[in-house]
Every structure is written in structure tokens, then in C-alpha cells.
Symmetry: C2
Subunit: 405 residues, 2 copies
């Protein structure tokens, strides 16, 4: 326990956190590390401005998607060469869903659940609408409740696609059971790690999932709109004919062939020119993981989450826990139902306690051990208690919605 505290006291020092802020929204956007700042300034002053086009070779830009992909692979239980950074999560979902459907050509049903992050469902709707303009047999998306995903897996399903941790409630899918049944029935599996990568001890290879995607800007602290990543099981990757075909996924990008030939391996999941600034920033942010394991992060996350749940239960009886109480059934966030959750979150933000609101009535708090400790958790609970007791949320300025809420 003391060892863990010491480890995380060290990781906290890696972050540039604003004075007086308790940041419980790292599940939406991670904070800046000192390493990212230094690396970006070096990128401006010594790489781009000095080397210009030569930076692709001399500053290692060309290799960055794979270098950063390999670092992320190491954090999600994947082998080197099975993960690449690329684009954003929605686009990566498109790539792997299209690939999964092609690998299961006799089947036309995509299974997902109503707890999935909406963009994943939108991606499925977009692919299906396009294919159905000309398809001989139409595709369909079947959306069930999170609790009935397992039951709904059958031999009609081409692919089951779920997000491991519910973005709103923090509920955790039992992926072992889902993948096991899917494999038995010949169903391809896609796992969205946006709310679990960097928070849970994810083991994509042990789990034997076919595809995984995730983002770089939440628990990996890669900065706003950081590049996302995509994993493909190594036995499948060279069987995939990518639907998003671009020169950065070509076997020989600078031969300028007229014919697309996919790169061997995970590189074929890349498309166009990647954001070098975004990759650089994410690359440096990942340094913080050198002295800490995901198992340690998970242990500490559960301790701090339990502390928050316990403190809030005593102090704020009006808040109804939306997150499963059983630690095995939740990710790394704690959410509460409250009729005036939007105003409540705004009132907390005004005090420097940053959580966020999710429709329709959820106040959501991310628990990120890399830069949060017991003192932060208790202070946040104290503020929450005070905001509710004094009804300081009940004020017009906290009820006016922002563009991004």
C-alpha cells in the first residue's frame, strides 16, 4: 500500500496540474505532462523549423505511428507490431468493422448494445447504409441492452462490437464470456477500449479478441484530439483488405505505384499522413508509464473509487450511485444520478472540482491514480457535500448549457 502511494506520488509529479484544481475528468481529457510540453517545444524549435521536410527521416516522424503503437501495445496486453496509432477512434471503428464484416461474408448482422458509446453505433449505421445501397442481401445493426449482449450472440451475428467500460455509468462488460461465446459461434469481436485503456489491466491477446480500438486523449494523456490506436489480432491482419486505403498503409508508400498493395502487418491500418504534433505529444505522455504497471493502476483506482463512493454515500445521500458497487463490474469512474446533475457539475467546476455531466442526469467523475490521491478524493467529496447542502447549484448561471457539455 505504501509502495503504491510512493509510486503514484512520483507519477503525479510528471503532470502539470493547475494550482487549486481537483481534476476528475481524465476519462474525458487527460492533463498535460511536463514531458509532452518539452517534447512539443523541441519539435517546434529543433525539428520542424530546423529540419523541415528532412524531419520525416531525421526526426523519426515516419516511424512514429509504429513507435507509439508499440508503446500502447505494451499497455493493453498486445505484442509489438499488432497496434498502430492512426486517425481517431470513430475512423478506426470503421476500419475494423468493415474488416470484420468482410471476414464473415455469409453473415449480415452487427450486434452491439445501448451502452456503447454512440459514435460506435453511428459508424455501424454509416457502413450499413452505404453497403445496403447496392448489397444483394441487406446488412443490419442489432442493438440490445448491455445485460443481454451475451444472450444475443448467435450464428446469425457477423460481429459483436462493445465498449468495455460504459462511458456514462462505468459499467464493465464481462469480456471473457462475450469473446468465448463469440468464438464458439464464429462471431468476430471488436472491443472499444476508450474507457478502459490506461485504466484497467486490459489484455487483448489473452482475451483473444479479434480487433480493438481506443483513444489517446483520455487515460493516455496525449492531448486534446490525440491520435487514436487500433489493434488487430496478428493471425488476422494480413487477411484484411483495408477499406480505408491510403498511401501511409501502402507496402511501399514512396514508390508511388498506381496500385494499392497493403503493407504487411498492422501498418495497413494506416491511411493518410498522420498528425506529427499529435503523435509527438502522445509519445512523450506515455513516458509516465515506465515506472508503473496497469495492475498497480487498477488496484489504486479501485481503492480511490471505493473511497469516493464511501465518502459520498455518507455525505450526499441525495446522490444515487450509477456505477456498479461491485469492483469487478466497474471501470475507473464513479457516476451518480441527480436530477440537477448539470447544474451540480457546473457548481463544482466553479470551485475547481472538475467532473462532467452526461445526459440525462449523470454527474461523472474519473478516477485517475497517476495524478490523484486520497486528499484529492476527500476534498472533492467535501465540495460535493457542500454544494448539495448549500444548494449552490441552484443558480441560473449553472443551468445554462455550454456547446460541449
Amino acid at each position: 500500500m505504501e509502495d503504491l502511494k510512493q509510486i503514484f506520488a512520483q507519477t503525479k509529479k510528471a503532470f502539470d496540474l493547475p494550482e487549486g484544481m481537483i481534476y476528475l475528468d481524465g476519462n474525458s481529457l487527460g492533463p498535460m505532462t511536463h514531458a509532452s510540453r518539452a517534447r512539443l517545444i523541441d519539435e517546434l524549435d529543433n525539428q520542424w523549423s530546423k529540419k523541415l521536410i528532412k524531419g520525416w527521416n531525421e526526426s523519426g516522424w515516419y516511424l512514429l505511428p509504429q513507435v507509439v503503437g508499440d508503446k500502447i501495445a505494451n499497455l493493453i496486453g498486445a505484442s509489438k507490431g499488432t497496434v498502430t496509432t492512426a486517425d481517431n477512434t470513430s475512423i478506426n471503428v470503421h476500419k475494423v468493422l468493415s474488416a470484420a464484416l468482410s471476414l464473415n461474408p455469409e453473415r449480415r448482422v452487427v450486434l452491439s448494445d445501448s451502452g456503447n458509446f454512440p459514435t460506435d453505433l453511428y459508424v455501424a449505421q454509416g457502413i450499413i447504409a452505404k453497403l445496403n445501397e447496392t448489397a444483394d442481401v441487406p446488412y443490419e445493426l442489432k442493438v440490445v441492452t448491455p445485460e443481454t449482449v451475451l444472450d444475443a450472440i448467435d450464428e446469425d451475428i457477423a460481429v459483436v462490437m462493445v465498449t468495455q467500460v460504459d462511458y456514462c455509468t462505468g459499467r464493465l462488460h464481462d469480456m471473457e464470456k462475450i469473446v468465448e461465446k463469440a468464438k464458439q459461434l464464429g462471431v468476430k469481436t471488436i472491443l472499444d477500449l476508450c474507457h478502459s485503456g490506461g485504466a484497467l489491466d486490459v489484455q487483448v491477446e489473452k482475451l483473444d479478441v479479434d480487433f480493438a480500438v481506443g483513444c489517446g486523449y483520455k487515460y493516455f494523456n496525449g492531448g486534446p484530439g490525440a491520435p487514436a490506436f487500433v489493434y488487430v489480432k496478428s493471425s488476422l491482419i494480413n487477411d484484411i483488405q483495408p477499406v480505408l486505403t491510403g498511401w501511409m498503409g501502402h507496402d511501399s508508400p514512396f514508390a508511388f505505384d498506381a496500385q494499392y498493395t497493403p503493407m504487411q502487418g498492422i501498418g495497413r491500418m494506416r491511411v493518410g499522413t498522420p498528425s506529427v504534433l499529435g503523435l509527438t505529444c502522445l509519445d512523450a505522455a506515455l513516458d509516465v508509464w515506465e515506472g508503473v504497471s496497469l495492475a498497480q493502476v487498477r488496484q489504486r483506482s479501485l481503492e480511490l473509487s471505493q473511497l469516493f463512493i464511501d465518502e459520498v454515500a455518507v455525505r450526499c445521500p441525495d446522490l444515487k450511485l450509477a456505477t456498479p458497487l461491485n469492483p469487478d463490474e466497474r471501470g475507473s469512474q464513479v457516476s451518480f444520478h441527480f436530477d440537477e446533475a448539470y447544474a451540480l457539475v457546473q457548481a463544482l467546476i466553479a470551485r475547481g472540482v472538475i467532473g462532467d455531466f452526461r445526459m440525462p442526469n449523470v454527474a461523472r467523475f474519473g478516477i485517475t491514480p497517476l495524478y490523484l490521491d486520497e486528499q484529492d478524493i476527500i476534498q472533492a467529496a467535501e465540495h460535493l457535500e457542500d454544494v448539495i447542502k448549500t444548494r449552490s447549484w441552484d443558480c441560473p448561471e449553472f443551468k445554462t448549457k455550454n456547446a460541449v457539455t
Copy 2:
């Protein structure tokens, strides 16, 4: 003439150019502006690190794709609200090609040419291969020579897709004729502006092209892997059902609806969370255009290009011009054939004269008036003459190819 020189002497000051370098590769990667550097450092020190998640509202991140899109619209002859930044060029080609095919459902042929940038052809191959897995009537890609595109447009063609300026030779398509014939025969048009946006006085609305795409990192100087952009004719945009569907193109992203409903207008061409660092950098880089018009840039580009062609013709008879001599038929680069072009370019780079090599034997030099003047052009020609006269390219170190060439 003197006026133009003065204008461009001013714009040159906006750039942080390395001492002693003559940079003739802005058609591959533009240099850093002082404004971009300052803006990114502000982004790190005062926005991301201080505001964290609040930056989406308070730092204007959420609006950036449209703010920057509108700035680019102004530089390519498009109205406000018809251009958005998004993703990279390859992915944007995918979006508009898919949309163009859907708008012409009875036709199955994509027409392009062998002078198109290969990634555009790869995108077409990827879409077609995917659709043909299930399509009732197969799609096909027809690739003709650049000179025969106009002749090849007929009523079987669903969409004609060309890059305005050839990345290798600098040859310029006669877009008026192509679009006119396409319109007469009900063919949709896609124009790739990667090598013309920010270099020529592009007028997409006057031209009446249906779709256009382009990149942010060449003549717009947005930094390595800067966000790309996409234009859709305003009368078409709300008829398009995007194939790349993500929450950032949803009509109400933060309602978290289960059903995708595209945003009204060009916003539906957005997909996932955009690179804020990339957008910020590009946004600031576009400030340089405030005091200069594309017509002025084009005039100056032709003057400097002619100067370079004339100087090289006299000094280097071994170099064979690959770019059309007629100014109306070329973009903003000058390319030469030379058997040992790769080594030649490396020898020039070693002297601080940065051009680039393109397969199989082309030495390519970008003419970018924003930061190049007569003195740069003449000095570059002098170096070229000396490298050839002394055969200093004929040395093993200049013949070893880099990963990115």
C-alpha cells in the same frame, strides 16, 4: 512589381526559416511561422494545461474545425460554411468519393488519371473492392492518361476525380473544360487541391466543382501532418448521407442519441475528435494570408518559376524540364528529369538547397512566394549548376536512399 516584392518581403518575415537554407520543398511541407509557434505554446501553457476539459468551450476548440475551414474557404473561392477541416486528405477523398457514387447510383465507373496522386487511386480501389464484395452490379476504376481525361468523360462515368496539379511534374489540368463536360453528361466531379490550394487562385465555386479536398501542410504551412480540408457544393451537402459517420458530424453530438443524424451543412463531413494541436497550428499559420491575395501569389509564383527555368536552362543543359513551359499549364513547382536525380537532390540538400526527388528520375522544386525571393532562386540555380559541373552528386553517400524519399 515593386509592390509585390514589398508584400512578399513582409510575408517572408512571418516565417522561421533556418539560416543558410534555401527551401524549395514547401509543396511537400511548409515551414513554421512565428505565429504557429506562439499559438502552440499558448495552447500548452494557457489552454490545455490550465483549462483541461473546459478548453473545448473556453478555448474555442469545439469551433476550430469550422473556424479554420472558413479561413481555407476564403482561400479557395468557396463560401463560408462550405469547407471544414477534418482528418487527412486520403480519408476526405474516401468521404467525397463515396458520396459522389451514392449521388449517381445508376453508374458504376470512377474515372481518374495516371497523373493523380497515388493515394487518391488507392482510395478508389479500397471503396470499390469493398462495395464489390456484395454489390449487385460491380464498380470499376478507369485510369487514363492525364491528356485523355476529357475525352474519357461519358455517360457511363459516375464521377471524375483528378488532382489539379500533378505532384510530380507540376502539370495543371484544364479544370474548366473537365467540369463543363462532366456537368453536361451528369458526371460528378472531385478536385484534389493538395498541390494547388494556397498556390493558385483556385475558385471552386466559380468552377462549379461538386467536391474538393486538400491538405493543410503544404502551401498552407500548417505543420507536419496538419489537418486536411473538404469542400462540398452547398446545394449538395444536405443530400449526402456520410459513409464515415461519427459523433463530431452528428446534429447534436452531446445528446448521445443512439441514432446518427447528420449535422446540417458541411459539419457532417466531420467524424471523430479532431487534433486540436494540429488545428491550432494550422489556424495560426493561415494568418499570413491576411495581407496577400492568391492572385498575387500566383503572379509572383509564375515570375519566380520562370526565373528558375531560365537560369537552369542556361546553367544546366543536362537537366530536362519536366514541367510544362507554358505558364497556363503548370502549378507552382518546377521539375526536371535527370538520370541521377536522387543523388543530385541529396547533394543539393547537403548544401542547404532543399528540393525533393520523385520516382523514377525527377528532381522537384517548389516555388513558394510567401518566403522565397529572386535571390533564393538565383542562388539555388547557382548551386544546381555547381553540383552538376563538379559532379558532386556522384558520391556513394548521396546514393543511399532514406525511408522517406
